[in-house]
């Protein structure tokens, strides 16, 4: 009550402030004049009366100040006054104001933008009910290259036995299906989920219902749930969609529900447009012919922890160990590890280090910005030493002067923040466009309340930082000394200059850290983009096709179709050659298959080495320009005889035939009773898994094979990629290729059309994004640091004009004077670089996961960056040092 009354009084005082000041003035003036008149009446001469009246009244200003204090308006009043004064000062030095506000705006804006990403991805809770209880459950199979999946028997066991969860649900990894019927055929991503999946997430359907448990049974009618997007774009928000049938991969399925708009699947690798029931065997059967990989999520019970849940699931698995088939034992069942992690942590996944690095970098930039402005403020403060002394002499308290400096800091910070918010808005827009796609939740990127709180917090810290520093430095309470100096050079406080040097050193080290970081990322990106992919990826158009099993049941039917497509495509103008493969280079995830060698003892099932296989059209190598190392390519006759030719890559030859010629050797792929295959050729390695991954041993099979080839029959994915080498820009062929396919099968979607160049660029988006962003920050940091050291040296030079004048008058050469100043600069630069390098040693290891074929302590990068920083900083300090010697000795001497 009392406090609020006071506050009200303050507010009232603030509003009526002007009138009160006038009233007070009038009242006091009346007093003094009335007294003077009385004195005159008593015989005192008028002037003398005026003087005595004033004198006896006492300090007029102090009385006013006390009156204001009584009214409680001092705080508000002085704040207003300080603000007005600060603004006036800024208006008087527009250069300083512009530099300070611009750098601050950039610093704050960049921070806000990056923080908004961190916020969207790592901080803001997932859009599900009580998301902190959601976990991702998986098993890591060491012997399977750390592949993470849960075999369906484990999932079934867990759902029956685990007590740490209120429930667990599973989904398959997602797949694609041809959506046909009304409109153009379309290839859409689909995912199978268990019936309780949406319930676990706490998401209700928008229309209709989610799945029923019986819909997961093998013979139940096929149903589908649409995403809002699909409902909107394909079915025009048809209100009567429920109960209608749609055609997925030539099978008719009934729509039972629509998910709400904005629903996001809890796995960034799966972006389904519709959902189907995930059909899992009810019974645990480790000896089943096939088993299903599942991905599992769970909701922890209120008191359970992820750690407890993890050991509980491991216990359940251990109890079941004796039941497991020999195949699972050999796949490394004993070394397999159950992993239960918070869902959000899992989703952030590999983006986390990059984000943290960027946040740290942008934080450093803001720090440098603050240091820089503190530095500029210091210069100004020392020039204003006299002003402060005068103000202190007429009664301003120390706290009042500090408040004023803080107010000035706050004005700058707030202006910086206001413009920074604009910068951030633009930055976020840019980020949305350029950020790598696999950053989870980036579509929800926005400047929300927590971002605002973050920026305001940053602004407060900034205010304190560059308000306090000059304030501390400014107060050598030696009023007399300062006042005595009336010369223009009188203001230099040695302590202030020392602090400035320290700040410039800090700036240089921080900038060096950022530059080394960005240098490493740039070098690594450069290495990445210059990786030889092993084939010629220019002028190659790629387009994916998936033949529905229902329409093309036999491998013969499939390759006949592809051969027809290729024949038509080859006839198109501008096409040099055309081929097909089922796995594209660079982003392929090839299937692997067990392999046995003729003349070697047959290992037990599951223990055989496995290699990826790719099935290709005979002239695929020629189209991609993958070099032949030995033997021959496939030809059109390979399908007609029964020796099942294969081609291996160099890695394969090196790994399995280190001392022999692999040509004409025989290998058996798949089951022990499947046919032997003859190696007819060795081709060069290509970057199959991506430019940053080493090549592995690989096997190629022709997709035209002898009838009944079990590998082709069992492993066919019905999907192929058409690769077309054109004479010039390949993208113009896209619609022509689509047309040719449509002429052969109007129901077949051609999707994911892109040039090989584009695919390479896409795989480099994330590293390029990181490198460019960090590079921008680092350049900005270097610029600020350079401004910092330039400021320090020019200030130092102006301080020592007198000294230099004397020295030169006594016969010193300009070079001596330059050397004098450059000595100072060198000390700062050397110390700055030294500290920066030390910091690099400690910090750069956090970059390790973002680097490709380069160590975080890469000497070349570090040396180059140090050289650049050193040179630039020296140049920046040489300019003012040089200028100092241009001064006429006489003028320099006189200026004291």
């Amino acid at each position: 009550m009392k406090a609020s009354g006071r506050l009200l009084g303050c507010l009232r005082a603030m509003l009526k402030h002007g009138r009160m000041e006038r009233d007070m003035d009038a009242e006091l003036r009346f007093h003094i004049e009335a007294y003077a008149e009385d004195l005159v009446r008593g015989g005192v001469p008028p002037e003398e009366a005026q003087r005595r009246a004033r004198l006896e009244f006492g300090g007029l200003e102090q009385t006013k100040e006390e009156c204001r204090d009584v009214r409680g308006i001092t705080v508000v009043h002085s704040l207003l006054q300080d603000t007005r004064y600060g603004l006036r000062l800024l208006r008087k030095s527009p250069g300083f104001a512009a530099v300070a506000v611009t750098t601050l705006a950039l610093g704050i804006g960049a921070n806000t933008a990056i923080f908004s990403v961190v916020n969207a991805v790592m901080i803001r809770p997932l859009p599900y009910r009580d998301p902190s209880r959601l976990v991702s459950i998986t098993e890591i199979w060491h012997k399977e290259q750390d592949r993470a999946f849960v075999p369906s028997p484990d999932y079934t066991n867990w759902s029956a036995q685990a007590r740490s969860f209120t429930e667990i649900a599973a989904y398959d990894g997602g797949f694609e299906a041809n959506l046909t019927g009304a409109g153009e055929p379309q290839r859409i991503p689909v995912v199978g989920v268990t019936a309780n999946f949406f319930h676990l997430l706490g998401i209700a359907s928008f229309h209709g219902r989610t799945f029923l448990p019986q819909e997961a049974l093998p013979d139940s009618p096929s149903v589908v749930i649409l995403s809002y997007d699909l409902w909107q774009h394909r079915f025009g928000l048809d209100p009567n969609i429920l109960g209608k049938s749609i055609t997925l991969d030539s099978e008719s399925v009934t729509v039972v529900g629509v998910m709400p708009p904005g629903f996001r699947f809890p796995d960034q690798d799966v972006k389904p447009l519709c959902y189907v029931p995930f059909r899992l065997p009810n019974r645990v059967d480790w000896y089943a012919k096939t088993f299903t990989d599942t991905l599992v999520i769970g909701r922890l019970k209120p008191r359970a922890t992820a750690g407890q849940a993890q050991s509980e699931l491991a216990d359940i698995n251990a109890r079941d160990f004796g039941e497991v088939s020999p195949m699972f034992v050999r796949m490394g069942r004993a070394t397999m590890r159950v992993q239960v992690v918070n869902l959000q942590t899992k989703l952030v996944g590999n983006v986390r280090p990059a984000l943290l690095v960027l946040l740290a970098a942008v934080g450093l930039v803001l720090l440098i910005t603050c240091v820089n402005i503190a530095n500029l403020q210091l210069v100004r403060t020392s020039a204003r030493q006299q002003e402060f002394a005068v103000r202190a002499a007429v009664g301003a308290g120390r706290s009042q002067l500090i408040t004023q400096l803080l107010t000035e800091g706050a004005i700058l910070a707030l202006l910086g923040e206001a413009f920074g918010w604009l910068v951030a808005t633009g930055g976020v827009r840019l980020l949305r466009v350029f950020a790598p796609e696999d950053v989870a939740q980036l579509e929800h990127l926005s400047l929300d309340r927590s971002v605002l709180v973050f920026t305001l917090g940053a602004t407060c810290i900034i205010t304190l930082l560059f308000g306090m520093l000059p304030a501390i430095a400014a107060f050598r309470p030696d009023l007399y000394e300062t006042l005595k100096h009336t010369g223009v050079r009188g203001a230099g406080a040695r302590g202030g200059q020392r602090l400035r040097k320290l700040l410039a050193t800090a700036e240089l080290s921080l900038a060096l850290v950022l530059l080394v970081g960005s240098g490493l990322l740039l070098r690594s990106f450069h290495l990445l983009s210059n990786v030889d992919p092993g084939f010629d990826l220019h002028n190659v158009l790629t387009a994916r096709l998936q033949l529905p099993e229902a329409d093309y049941p036999s491998p013969e039917g499939q390759w006949t179709f592809y051969e027809q497509v290729l024949e038509r495509v080859r006839a198109l103008p501008g096409v040099e050659s055309a081929g097909a493969t089922d796995v594209l280079p660079l982003n392929g995830f090839p299937r692997t298959i067990g392999i046995r060698f003729e003349g070697q003892a047959s290992p037990p099932p599951g223990a055989a080495p496995s290699t990826p296989i790719t099935t290709i059209s005979p002239d695929y190598f020629r189209v991609m320009r993958i070099p032949l190392v030995a033997g021959r390519f496939f030809d059109q006759h390979d399908g007609t005889h029964n020796d099942f030719p294969t081609i291996v890559n160099q890695s394969f030859a090196r790994r399995f035939f280190p001392h022999e010629d692999p040509i004409a050797k025989r290998v058996r792929l798949g089951a022990p009773d499947w046919p032997w295959r003859t190696i007819v050729g060795v081709v060069g390695d290509i970057k199959q898994l991506g430019v940053s991954r080493p090549s592995e041993a690989e096997i190629y099979l022709p997709y035209i094979s002898a009838p009944g080839d079990p590998v082709i029959a069992h492993e066919s994915s019905f999907e192929n990629v058409i690769v077309v080498r054109s004479r010039n820009s390949p993208l113009v062929l896209a619609s022509a290729v689509r047309e040719q396919v449509a002429k052969l099968d109007a129901n077949l979607p051609v999707f994911d059309i892109a040039t090989m160049d584009q695919r390479l660029a896409n795989s480099l988006v994330a590293p390029r994004f990181n490198a460019v962003l960090l590079g921008i920050f680092a350049a900005f940091a270097l610029l600020l640091a350079v401004v910092g050291i330039y400021g320090v040296i020019s200030h130092s030079a102006s301080q020592r004009t007198h000294e230099i004048g004397i020295r030169m008058a006594l016969g010193a050469l300009p070079t001596h004077a330059v050397r004098l100043l450059m000595g100072e600069a060198l000390a700062i630069i050397a110390l700055g670089i030294g500290c920066g390098l030390a910091a690099c040693l400690g910090l750069m290891r956090y970059l390790e996961s973002l680097l490709f074929e380069i160590r975080p302590t890469d000497p070349l990068t570090i040396a180059a960056v140090s050289l650049v920083v050193g040179t630039v900083a020296l140049q920046a300090s040489y300019l003012p040092a040089r200028r100092a010697t241009k001064v006429d000795p006489m003028a320099a001497l006189r200026c004291e």
Partner: protein, 113 residues
């Protein structure tokens, strides 16, 4: 400026209230009346009068109003409010009892304690 002792500060408020209880006055008038009643034995630092007036006004014990002075000039006149009259009474009582106690103590003779 030397500060008034605390006791006197409290006293000044009371004296102002007393002066105003005899009729509305402007600030200078308050000063004159107190000096007049005290027969010039009490010296009041002129500047300290106004913070005291403002404080009393803030507390609602006196109310200020702009009017015209004897020699036709704009001056701010203060008058005692009802609350101010009550406050004056309370302060006077307190002062008297305090004065009595202190006087009693000061008159104490060696044998009486």
């Amino acid at each position: 400026m030397s500060k008034q002792p605390d006791l006197l500060q409290g006293t000044l408020d009371m004296l102002i209230l007393k002066a105003l209880s005899l009729g509305p006055l402007h600030g200078y008038g308050v000063l004159l009346r107190i000096q007049q009643i005290s027969k010039d034995r009490l010296e009041i630092q002129q500047g300290s009068l106004y913070p005291a007036l403002y404080r009393l006004e803030d507390q609602g014990w006196i109310a200020g109003e702009w009017g015209e002075s004897e020699n036709k000039r704009k001056a701010k006149y203060y008058r005692l409010t009802v609350a101010g009259r009550r406050q004056l009474q309370a302060e006077v009582e307190q002062w008297n009892s305090m004065a009595e106690i202190i006087a009693g103590i000061l008159q104490a003779k060696p044998g009486e304690v």
